[in-house]
């Protein structure tokens, strides 16, 4: 069927196979003419297929792309195979070329004969043979591929921020500065969160006309995806409200560990033991720290690293906060003796040493111990020289570890995002997407993400806002992934295996019809559900078994 003009144009596929020389990178090792001759010599293997096979210097260059575009148009290609480099380099380049023609970009395929042949196979003959095998696999596969059509969706550029602490307020203000509408949802009766000081953002956010503040309100439900979320809100007095937004920023903050958790620390309600955050707040509001009977304490001990061993991580910010508090107490009430009890000092960053110097200069006594236990108001200090000393104080301030907020688990389940090993929200990727999550359109800011300083919380808040501003541009539409899973309803038994394995919550049960249904806007096309389906009712577009077997068969021929 290699002749044209047979009158069977509708039946005949015209597959263009273009081999890129990539300068000497490919052509220097692989005998491209031999590859072309070998493939052409057995072109009668393909029924009703006409092959156009050519080589070119650099297909990814400007003239190369123009050449390819012209070839597709002039030859009326129905399918295209480009034998060149890794799809990670130029798949999108050549898809872009297809998009300028009538050829659907999903009827094209790139074959990697550089990274997987010319660069790694030593013997030129073997490399040539491998290249031919890979190309045959792709010709065979591309004939089984189907056109896919991108369906751009309208988006809602507004955002919901969960949590009215430092990070939440900062994110809301950053979004509002671009005139986005923000729903700021706070569980407690006031803004400010747990950062211990009154942030200037608080006043700004209250006065901001673009920010709607919901106090004593929690998120109760969420459905949707990036650009189109429907969020249910429930207020403390039982009122329900539904809002719509394009993105969700989680800024729910964190809690502190229970100092008594370790067993080394025990005290009763009546003892003058106040955790660091509480003491910071009192000092900031009242200007001093008084005992319950209204008198000033003569001695105060700040105990660092309480809960660090139990949690298995250093919270990273409490040494600095503890020393700052100790210095502030000395400054505000110089008659009070303040002792800082620490094991290791963690004072990272350019300003860390200044904090230590400030504490020393203000007259804070620093005691390094191997371990400290507390019973009532008496500290048992295990000194570095092996001796131990018992000392009583009028007030004890343990620096408890930063731990996940109580709502973290329920919100993570609602939004289908994973938690890290310590129970904080897990980012999509530590380095490449630290503010994002595995659920597109859901971002994390502040200590909901893990222990961090107020300064870092601000940075994350801005990063989240930046993501929302760039991903959801008013008037622009978003194109969901098209290589997603579809369900062949006739085969689906509604067993629900696929629902259980989908981390995105992209599949739901249609109980009326007894089948599973894929929400294509949420599906990312990993194919996990496909492998879990016992009845073969799922198909992952562009990566079907049928398509993959074409590659397998050519490799094993």
């Amino acid at each position: 069927m290699s002749e044209t003009g047979t009158g069977k144009t509708e039946m005949t596929a015209r597959v263009g196979v273009y081999l890129c020389e990539c300068g000497p990178n490919i052509a220097g090792k692989i005998d491209l003419d031999k590859v072309m001759a070998d493939i052409l010599s057995e072109s009668d293997r393909y029924r009703n297929v006409e092959l156009v096979i050519r080589r070119y210097g650099f297909l990814c260059s400007g003239p190369g792309k123009q050449y390819l575009e012209d070839e597709i148009k002039e030859n009326g290609l129905t399918h295209l195979v480009v034998a060149a480099c890794s799809p990670r380099d130029h798949d999108s380049t050549f898809m872009g070329v297809c998009a300028r023609t009538d050829l659907n970009p999903y009827l094209y395929r790139i074959v990697n004969i550089r990274e997987q042949c010319s660069w790694v196979i030593t013997d030129p003959e073997e490399a040539t043979e491998r290249a031919a095998t890979y190309i045959r696999g792709s010709i065979s596969r591309v004939l089984r591929q189907s056109s896919l059509f991108e369906k751009p969706l309208e988006i809602n550029p507004d955002a919901v921020v969960i949590g009215g602490g430092a990070a939440g307020m900062e994110a809301a203000l950053a979004l509002s500065s671009d005139l986005r509408r923000v729903f700021l949802v706070e569980k407690s009766a006031s803004l400010g969160g747990g950062c211990g000081i009154t942030m200037p953002q608080e006043k700004a956010v209250i006065e901001d006309p673009n920010v709607d503040i919901y106090l004593e309100t929690q998120m109760s439900s969420v459905i949707g995806f990036l650009g189109n979320f429907e969020i249910g809100l429930k207020s403390a007095d039982g009122k329900d409200e539904e809002i719509t937004a394009g993105a969700i920023i989680l800024a729910i903050g964190s809690d502190y560990s229970d100092p008594q958790e370790s067993g080394r620390i025990s005290f009763s309600e009546s003892d003058e033991v106040h955790i660091l955050a509480e003491a910071e707040r009192t000092l900031e509001a009242a200007g001093d720290l008084k005992l319950r009977d209204g008198t000033m304490p003569e001695t105060i001990a700040v105990v660092h690293c309480v809960g660090r061993e139990e949690q298995g991580y250093c919270s990273g910010v409490c040494c600095s906060s503890s020393l700052k508090l100790a210095a502030a107490i000395r400054r505000l009430s110089p008659e009070t003796a303040v002792t800082s009890v620490y094991r290791d000092l963690c004072l990272p960053g350019a300003d860390g040493e200044n904090v230590l110097r400030m504490a020393r200069e203000s007259g804070v006594e620093l005691i390094r111990t191997k371990g400290t236990s507390l019973s009532g108001m008496e500290l048992d200090l295990e000194k570095m020289d092996g001796t131990s000393e018992k000392r009583s104080f009028d007030m004890i301030i343990p620096a408890a570890a930063i731990v996940p907020a109580a709502d973290t688990v329920s919100l993570a389940e609602m939004l289908r995002i994973p938690l890290d090993e310590h129970g904080f929200f897990k980012e999509a990727h530590r380095m490449t997407d630290p503010a994002g999550t595995t659920t597109e359109g859901v971002f994390i800011a502040g200590t909901a993400h893990g222990p961090m300083s107020v300064m870092s919380s601000m940075r994350f808040a801005r990063a989240c806002a930046g993501q929302v501003l760039t991903r959801l541009v008013p008037g622009e539409r978003i194109v969901p992934e098209v290589k997603v899973t579809e369900i062949l309803e006739a085969y689906c038994t509604g067993c629900g295996n696929c629902l259980d394995v989908c981390v995105y919550g992209a599949i739901y049960a249609d109980t009326d019809r007894g089948i599973s249904v894929v929400n294509e806007a949420v599906c990312r096309g990993c194919g996990n559900c496909f492998a879990s389906c016992p009845s073969g009712a799922l198909r992952t577009r562009h990566f079907t078994n049928e398509q993959i077997f074409r590659e397998v068969d050519e490799a094993l021929r």
């Binding site: 990670r88 997987q116 660069w119 096309g525 993959i548 094993l556």
Partner: protein, 140 residues
């Protein structure tokens, strides 16, 4: 079997191991010509049919490689892959197919050297094992 050239299929996850293969390529590391790479989006999409059919189509060995546990692009796909492999290996035993012909490994995008090591090691193993019993058996 001095002239035995095994036929090996490597199903690589798009995000980690395929990128590692690219890195091995751009580092010009030597790889065996018997090894054919097939790109899939995630190791979790590898079902029993794909593995067993590939053996029945004549593969002497199959390597599946994806992101390290905890690093999956799709959250936790590789954990599912690992569980399915535990079952697959048992199925292979009942088919008189040596379970060593199937291997699941984790290779991150940064591990080009490790990728080359894994592929070369696996290819050596299959060379030693000889042709798959499915190819040589008269029973089939």
């Amino acid at each position: 079997m001095p002239d035995f050239h095994p036929r090996i299929i490597g199903f690589l996850c798009n995000w980690c191991t395929y990128a590692a293969a690219d890195l091995a390529g751009s580092s010009k590391l030597e790889l065996p010509p018997e090894f054919t790479v097939i790109r899939v989006m995630c190791s979790s999409r590898i079902d029993h049919n794909l593995i067993l059919s590939t053996f029945y189509r004549g593969a002497d060995g199959i390597l599946v490689a994806g992101c390290h546990p905890g690093d999956c692009h799709y959250g936790e796909g590789n954990y599912y892959a690992r569980r399915r492999f535990a079952l697959l290996k048992k199925v292979m035993e009942t088919l008189d197919l040596e379970p060593e012909r199937l291997e699941l490994r984790w290779v991150s995008a940064a591990e080009g050297n490790r990728y080359a090591e894994v592929v070369n090691e696996f290819t050596d193993r299959i060379r030693k094992l000889g042709p798959s019993p499915i190819r040589t058996s008269t029973r089939l």
